[in-house]
């Protein structure tokens, strides 16, 4: 299990689940918040990854 992307996805999923459950009381709200956080984690990682792609210059 050494795929960076897979580990990133698993990490983002678990952390999103905990934060969403902590911050919302209703299951529907938890699901919505968790999905948004998860999407944000993945999008930020991919965008930052591409931005860093040319480094070191």
């Amino acid at each position: 299990m050494s795929s960076h992307l897979l580990l990133l996805v698993i990490f983002a999923l678990l952390v999103s689940a905990v934060f969403a459950t902590l911050s919302r009381d209703e299951p529907r709200e938890q699901l919505r918040t968790g999905a948004m956080m998860f999407g944000g984690f993945i999008a930020a990682a991919i965008i930052l990854g591409w931005l860093m792609f040319p480094l070191p210059l």
């Binding site: 299990m1 050494s2 580990l7 698993i10 990490f11 678990l14 952390v15 689940a17 905990v18 459950t21 902590l22 299951p27």
Partner: protein, 136 residues
């Protein structure tokens, strides 16, 4: 006379100071136990599953359970974060798990999973305390 309505209404506060201490100890020792105690079963299940999975994955990924070495402040801080997971951390240390293989390609990933799991459990414990004290 009008009474104030609070967000804590409907919760099951554990108002006694001694009970709150026990609640925090339970929440630290077993992820989600504090929420189970307070009747928030759904939240407790999510915390139990997510945090123990993170801890197990961290060990599988050759992460390290850091020792309390005050001579190396970053190691001591990592040890403090690891200790946030309570009984799984104690069991891991007792069983000699989490030695950490620095040369493993997943070593840093494992450390990240272990450290974040412990820190998240501290947050979960504080959330249980707030609910128990009637603040949430």
């Amino acid at each position: 006379m009008a009474t104030k309505s609070t967000a804590a209404e409907g919760a099951r506060p554990a108002s006694e100071p001694g009970t709150l201490v026990l609640l925090c100890v339970a929440a630290w020792a077993i992820p989600g136990a504090g929420h189970f105690w307070l009747g928030r079963v759904q939240k407790g299940v999510v915390f139990l599953v997510a945090l123990t999975t993170m801890f197990g994955l961290g060990l599988l990924l050759q992460g390290r359970l850091f020792p309390f070495d005050l001579g190396e402040p970053l190691v001591a801080l990592a040890a403090f974060a690891n200790a946030g997971l309570g009984l799984p951390w104690i069991a891991g240390r007792a069983l000699g798990l989490g030695n950490g293989i620095v040369t493993a390609v997943t070593y840093e990933y494992g450390n990240t999973f272990l450290i974040v799991a412990g820190l998240l459990n501290f947050l979960v414990m504080l959330d249980a305390y707030d609910i128990g004290a009637g603040r949430k």
